[in-house]
């Protein structure tokens, strides 16, 4: 079941969940006013969202909702307001971007703040992980897009050696970056960023530079990348969703501008967020008028309209959730249920000082599937039997000979018994005969 999850910057509708296929509303989690890119599902186990607060507040807040409770259960208060959040697929860590340009890296299971670094001069607006989850791409209000290697950020020595802590810094955008997406392909992936300067720019991670600029008629607030990476969707403030080509060949086929090959344009209000479903054939767009529209990417038609609330929708996610997530053992289901019901502790505000770091160990979930016994066997008897038979045949082993001994002992015991019997019989007979003879003699003599 694919769910559409949406939230708004105004807390009037909370977080709404719809079934993508049927459009039925599944549940509505309460009290959430999220900034853009501030909503995510952590490993499919629970929902997390950073919260908008008035700018005077010195600390931010991040809430967790478990799937089966509508109220937020865990509240964390990071040192500064966080807006974008991102997590890895496993859901073991959360990365948040702060309003002062810092990026925070938390361990989910323990809530510890493992790392924090100053990433941008102004607020971080969007965060995204590369498909192998080793690179982090951040966009900022100051217009820069930076690529970070997570490994390097944890490697103090490496950081000191390097001239800068980031891998790439792209600064061609002149205004605030509104969205960033990353394609697939590990090191040769592309990154697309949208900015208030009305452009989307395509960057190559391996090249480390700008590959293409696409200019749009209006500001783009959201990007969704087609899984085939032939094109991307760009939701704009004029209400259209433009389709821009990433393919080198077709570029000038539309009146919208270079590289723009079409638009989905029934929208009246500005599009503030986009998401594609797993197959890439349904595009979900969230609008500032509080509605969510689902488009068929092949026919370019609206197939469904969902109503979130009055407030502008600024986050939509499409996630896949099944009732039995991993069709494995019963134990596993129990374990995963346990995961879902109990949420991890809140996130720390500060990093621990190194001294009392000894005690803090990562909390891991060991694989829940049954691995094999050391010799990979489930049933033993046949194996034991054949190895015993081998020993019998070789007659070399002590155990086999022991058993043979036992058998022989029993045999000999039985034979001994037999012998005894025979002897007894013999003696009886003997006595009888002797008696007979003696008696006969006596009789004769008499």
């Amino acid at each position: 079941m694919e769910l559409v999850i949406a939230s708004s910057s105004v807390d009037s509708g909370g977080i709404s969940c719809f079934d993508l296929q049927t459009g039925a509303e599944q549940s509505r989690f309460k009290s959430c006013s999220s900034p853009s890119h501030g909503l995510l599902s952590i490993g499919g186990r629970f929902l997390a969202s950073s919260q908008l607060r008035d700018s005077s507040a010195s600390s931010g807040s991040i809430l967790y909702w478990s799937w089966n409770k509508l109220q937020a259960e865990v509240r964390s208060f990071p040192a500064e307001p966080i807006s974008p959040l991102v997590s890895n697929r496993e859901g073991t860590y959360i990365i948040g971007g702060g309003s002062r340009g810092d990026i925070y890296y938390w361990d989910v299971a323990s809530g510890r703040l493992l790392n924090k670094w100053h990433a941008h001069y102004r607020a971080v607006t969007c965060l995204v992980l590369s498909d192998d989850e080793s690179l982090l791409i951040s966009g900022s209000e100051d217009g820069s897009v930076r690529v970070w290697s997570l490994y390097k950020l944890f490697n103090v020595i490496e950081i000191q050696k390097a001239k800068q802590p980031y891998e790439h810094s792209f600064s061609e955008h002149t205004l605030r970056v509104t969205d960033v997406v990353c394609g697939s392909g590990g090191c040769s992936a592309i990154v697309i960023s949208a900015s208030e300067d009305r452009t989307c720019k395509v960057w190559g991670i391996s090249e480390g530079r700008l590959l293409r600029t696409v200019e749009f008629p209006s500001i783009i607030d959201a990007i969704a990348l087609d899984p085939g990476e032939k094109s991307f969707f760009a939701g704009s403030r004029d209400g259209k969703i433009y389709i821009a080509a990433l393919d080198g060949e077709r570029t000038s086929s539309s009146s919208f501008g270079m590289h723009i090959i079409g638009a989905l344009s029934e929208h009246s209000k500005a599009v503030s967020c986009l998401a594609l479903n797993m197959d890439g054939n349904l595009l979900v767009s969230g609008l500032v008028d509080g509605t969510i529209r689902v488009w068929d990417t092949k026919t370019l038609q609206i197939v469904r309209m969902l109503k979130h609330s009055k407030g502008p929708v600024n986050n939509v996610l499409v996630i896949r959730r099944s009732l039995s997530k991993n069709p494995q053992t019963a134990a596993n289901r129990q374990a995963s249920r346990r995961h879902e019901s109990s949420l991890p502790p809140p996130l720390d505000k500060y990093t621990n000082s190194k001294d009392d770091d000894i005690d803090v160990n990562p909390i891991i979930s060991l694989p829940s599937h049954c691995t094999e016994t050391p010799d990979g066997r489930l049933y033993y008897t046949s194996h034991v039997m054949s190895s015993h038979i081998k020993e019998f045949q070789q007659q070399g082993s002590s155990a086999a000979s022991e058993m043979e001994m036992a058998r022989l002992r029993l045999d000999s015991k039985r034979s001994l018994e037999m012998t005894h019997q025979w002897m007894k019989m013999y003696e009886d007979l003997h006595h009888f005969c002797v008696d007979e003879l003696v008696d006969g003699d006596q009789n004769k003599r008499m």
Partner: protein, 926 residues
């Protein structure tokens, strides 16, 4: 209902699938083959025949598979027959078990175990408690034969395995299991036979796996028993592994986080305490203290020692080197110490990788500290510490150390596996540990482990990790693959005994190997020289190490083939193709393997090496580059040849490789527009593209040029189909470019231009593999990347250049800026691009046959802004090595001329040198 009703003696079965066969077969088995009360025991091998027959025909299943095609002929009578047959079978078995003769009893137990596994669920549920009562006394009687005990354990284990699968009897099963735990522990303590231990520990593991709650009550005594067995050191490797496993499974019987952590802590403390004795005189005292402080925080009480206090040696945790140690020293102390530590390390590994019901907190730092501690000891002893040990002691320790190292590497692997993405905060530690150790490590088995650790790290941590591991992997792989990479006549498995040199002069090798083809060429010479010098002292690199090295390279290319790989990529590609060619030169080796007699594990054979080499080639061809994979044709040739080896794994892989490469050769640039218009049917879109030429004539004039460059690139954006249709003659070139010369695959049209003067040279050079070709290669490669930068810019924005010139300056200005902003990028500064972009447009203007040469000029001399410059570059270029030396060292006379002549922008050269930092040291070395 055809005939089965009056099944008589004279009635025949339909075929071997006839179900009527089953009860009768079972009956005759029961009657004829089972040992009897009175008859003597038959040959034991008949038992395995019986089991075979029962399993093949599912004689005990009492159910009919869906595949049975005469279902209609089945009636109750048949099932009755079958049921009674099974009844009598079981009855006979139970009789046998009660028999006093141990062999008959043993046979009965074994067959009952098989029955537990094979019989129908209904029957099993009905009778398991009876069977249990029958079997239980057998492991309790002290007098019974070993075989009987072991077989009873196995049968009981199978019974509980089957029970665990049925939820309805789970509770009952748990109570039965509870009755069993104490007898099993008694077996372990009282019996002295190793094989009985093995059976008992298997049974114990089964119980604690499937019915954890039943063991809970006996937790402490179980721990004590298992630990005492491990400490006793009487077990063989296999058995000690089983004990380690059962100890690792023990916390699961409690199932809470604390038991797991406590067990882990206890084991680590025990290991570290043992190591104090073992490494006395071999390590600084500070190290051991460091590991211990991580484990037991100051101010906190240490946990009770492993195995509890009640055992005689229980207080090892508190008083490590007191009475106990001296006691041990009298015995075979070192060996026993190492054995215990190894086994417990295995136990830690198992704890980290086996399932556990709740989340646990892993003491990463103590674990890593322990691993580091062990790996840092190599048997050498500092002068100050020498007093503590004798030569004999050191000898013993050195003989045992490799195994210990192997186990700690296994533990490290498990740490990485267990922590998965949460390794990140400690990843730097792990990398340092591994890379440092790799430099010192010389034993094949350990190197294999290290390679596999690198491979795991690369794949799990992605590009970010590849950036830092690349050099380490390459340095080591180059050394280990040395024999193969120079292999001209050493290809066949029979002659494969030429020595490798990794044990020799590591630092120097490393330097030489450092990522330049110059290096590897020089190496060739040096290597040859060294071989002459030391004909006997170098051991050959075992195949298994070479396979591991190839796999690590494969992983590196898979994960990080494109990011900052300019420095090493071409070398690795070259190495892989050389290795593969020389490995496959002597034909395909047979995959028939003879399992090694010693370990039972299959030893890697030549065919495995070939397979690994081909895996490497595929990764090298598929991993993204900015130019066309240089050895595509050679790779394809190898795969095509390999595919013909019908029925081998190699052929299977070659077919897969050809499929994967097909996408590289025919990139499916399926445009969204088409798929949108055609309602997304992808194959339709593809079909449409063949007949319809999407190129307009207006675009056509641009293609000769951009195509020429573009066709090099395996970029999905570029579309070979269209370029075929767009400009026929031009495109024939890249297709025909599949020749043997490794050097000329880089540029389709270039080949035309150069064929006459370069090819002979190139071929000659390639043949002897001497410096200049290789250097030339490297140099060109640098330029290549430069020009490829252009190409990227042009290719993705190519129509911008042509159709809308007005935008060009803007865009390229942007590009230039980006380059300046990113100093980490080695090649292609902004200016360079600007100029070559001009070159591109010039080429467009010409657009005739001349354009065949122009791309050449752009590639070989990127900075050439005019046609003239280009031609002169070509003229001057014929002494290839000279040009190459300019690029690599840029200090020699002619090179300077060239630079001043052709290169207007000298700024770009430092870049190239940067990309190739070793070239200077290279030239010094000469």
């Amino acid at each position: 209902m055809t005939q089965p009703q009056k099944m008589g003696l004279y009635e025949f079965y339909n075929n071997m699938y006839d179900i009527r066969l089953k009860p009768r077969l079972l009956r005759s088995l029961t009657k004829d083959n089972l040992p009897d009360e009175n008859q003597p025991f038959p040959n034991p091998s008949t038992l395995s025949n019986i089991v075979e027959t029962i399993k093949t025909h599912a004689l005990l299943s009492e159910t009919i598979g869906s595949d049975n095609n005469n279902n209609d002929s089945v009636d109750d009578k048949f099932f009755d027959k079958w049921k009674s047959a099974v009844d009598s079978w079981v009855e006979k078995l139970l009789l046998l078990i009660s028999n006093k003769m141990p062999d008959k009893c043993w046979a009965g137990i074994c067959l009952l175990g098989v029955t537990c596994q094979e019989c129908s669920m209904g029957r099993f549920l009905d009778s398991y408690s009876v069977w249990f009562q029958k079997l239980l006394p057998l492991i309790q009687q002290p007098s019974d034969s070993q075989f009987v005990k072991v077989a009873s354990c196995a049968s009981l284990s199978d019974m509980f395995t089957r029970l665990s699968g049925t939820l309805s009897v789970k509770k009952d099963g748990a109570s039965l299991a509870g009755k069993l735990v104490q007898p099993v522990l008694n077996l372990l303590t009282e019996d002295s036979s190793v094989s009985v231990w093995e059976g008992a520990v298997d049974l114990f593991s089964t119980i604690s796996n499937f019915f954890p709650t039943s063991v809970n009550r006996h937790y402490d005594s179980a721990e004590a028993v298992i630990v005492s067995k491990i400490k006793s050191g009487k077990c063989n490797t296999n058995l000690s592994k089983k004990f380690a496993y059962s100890l690792a499974m023990l916390p699961k019987t409690r199932g809470d986080e604390d038991s797991w952590s406590l067990m882990m802590q206890k084991i680590l403390i025990f290991i570290n305490v043992q190591l104090i004795d073992a490494f006395e005189g071999l390590e600084e005292e500070t190290k051991s203290r460091e590991a211990m402080t991580l484990l037991v925080q100051p101010g906190k009480d240490p946990p009770p020692p492993l195995g509890g206090c009640d055992t005689a040696r229980g207080n090892a945790g508190k008083a490590p080197s007191s009475g106990e140690a001296s006691n041990h020293a009298a015995e075979r102390s070192e060996q026993l110490l190492f054995y215990k530590v190894s086994t417990l390390m295995q136990c830690c590994s198992m704890m980290l990788t086996n399932p556990y019901p709740v989340q646990v907190s892993v003491p990463v730092r103590p674990l890593l500290a322990t691993v580091r501690r062990v790996l840092s000891v190599d048997g050498s002893s500092s002068q100050a510490l020498l007093a503590f040990m004798t030569v004999l002691q050191q000898e013993k320790i050195c003989s045992e150390l490799p195994l210990l190292h192997l186990n700690s590497l296994d533990l490290l692997t498990s740490i990485i596996k267990g922590l998965r993405s949460q390794l990140l905060p400690n990843a730097a530690d792990v990398i340092r540990l591994v890379t440092e150790y790799f430099r010192r490590c010389k034993l094949p088995a350990l190197r294999i482990k290290l390679y596999s650790i690198l491979q795991i790290l690369l794949i799990s941590m992605g590009v970010g990790m590849a950036l830092y591991l690349a050099q380490e992997v390459i340095n080591n792989a180059f050394v280990d693959l040395e024999t193969l990479s120079h292999g001209s006549g050493i290809a066949s498995s029979t002659t494969f005994s030429k020595p490798g040199t990794y044990a020799l002069q590591q630092p120097r090798n490393k330097k030489r190997k450092h990522a330049t083809l110059t290096g590897s060429a020089a190496d060739h010479q040096n290597g040859a020289a060294l071989e002459k010098e030391l004909p006997t002292s170098k051991p050959p690199t075992p195949i298994s190490v070479q396979i591991a090295a190839l796999q690590a390279l494969e992983a590196l290319l898979t994960v990080g083939g494109a990011l900052r790989s300019e420095g090493w990529r071409s070398n690795v590609d070259f190495l892989l193709i050389t290795v593969a060619t020389s490995a496959c030169e002597g034909g395909w080796a047979s995959e028939e393997r003879t399992a090694s007699l010693v370990s039972g594990e299959p030893t890697p054979i030549w065919a495995d090496l070939q397979l690994a080499a081909l895996h490497g080639i595929l990764a090298s061809l598929l991993s993204p580059t900015r130019s066309r994979p240089r050895y595509l044709s050679q790779g394809l040739e190898l795969f095509r040849r390999g595919k013909q080896e019908t029925g081998t794994k190699l052929a299977e892989f070659c077919a897969h490789a050809l499929l994967a490469l097909e996408v590289l050769i025919h990139p499916r640039a399926l445009p969204l527009a088409d798929s949108l218009n055609n309602c997304g049917a992808f194959d339709e879109a593809l079909n449409h593209k063949f007949p319809e030429n999407p190129f307009s004539s207006a675009q056509k004039h641009s293609t000769p040029f951009s195509r020429g460059v573009l066709s090099l690139e395996p970029d999905p954006d570029d579309d070979l189909y269209e370029s075929w249709l767009g400009n026929g003659d031009e495109i024939v070139v890249p297709i025909s470019n599949t020749d043997k010369n490794m050097e000329c695959s880089e540029e389709p049209s270039e080949k035309h231009g150069r064929q006459t003067n370069v090819d002979p040279l190139g071929e000659q050079l390639a043949a002897d593999g001497s410096i200049s070709t290789v250097v030339g290669d490297e140099g060109r490669n640098n330029e290549h990347t430069g020009s490829m930068d252009v190409e990227r810019g042009v290719c993705t924005d190519e129509l911008m250049v042509n159709a809308e010139r007005s935008i060009v300056p803007n865009v390229f200005g942007g590009v230039g800026n980006s380059e300046v902003m990113v100093p980490t990028s080695h090649t292609g500064t902004g200016e360079k691009e600007m100029e070559s972009a001009e070159g591109v447009s010039d080429g467009d203007a010409l657009d005739t046959n001349n354009s065949v040469i122009i791309p050449d000029s752009v590639v070989t001399a990127t900075e050439a802004a005019s046609n003239k410059g280009a031609t002169s570059a070509i003229d001057d270029e014929s002494p290839l090595d000279e040009l190459a030396s300019i690029n690599t060292s840029s200090t020699f006379g002619k090179g300077k001329e060239l630079i001043s002549e052709d290169v207007s922008d000298t700024d770009s050269f430092p870049d190239i040198i940067d990309a190739d930092p070793d070239s200077n040291s290279e030239s010094d070395n000469f």
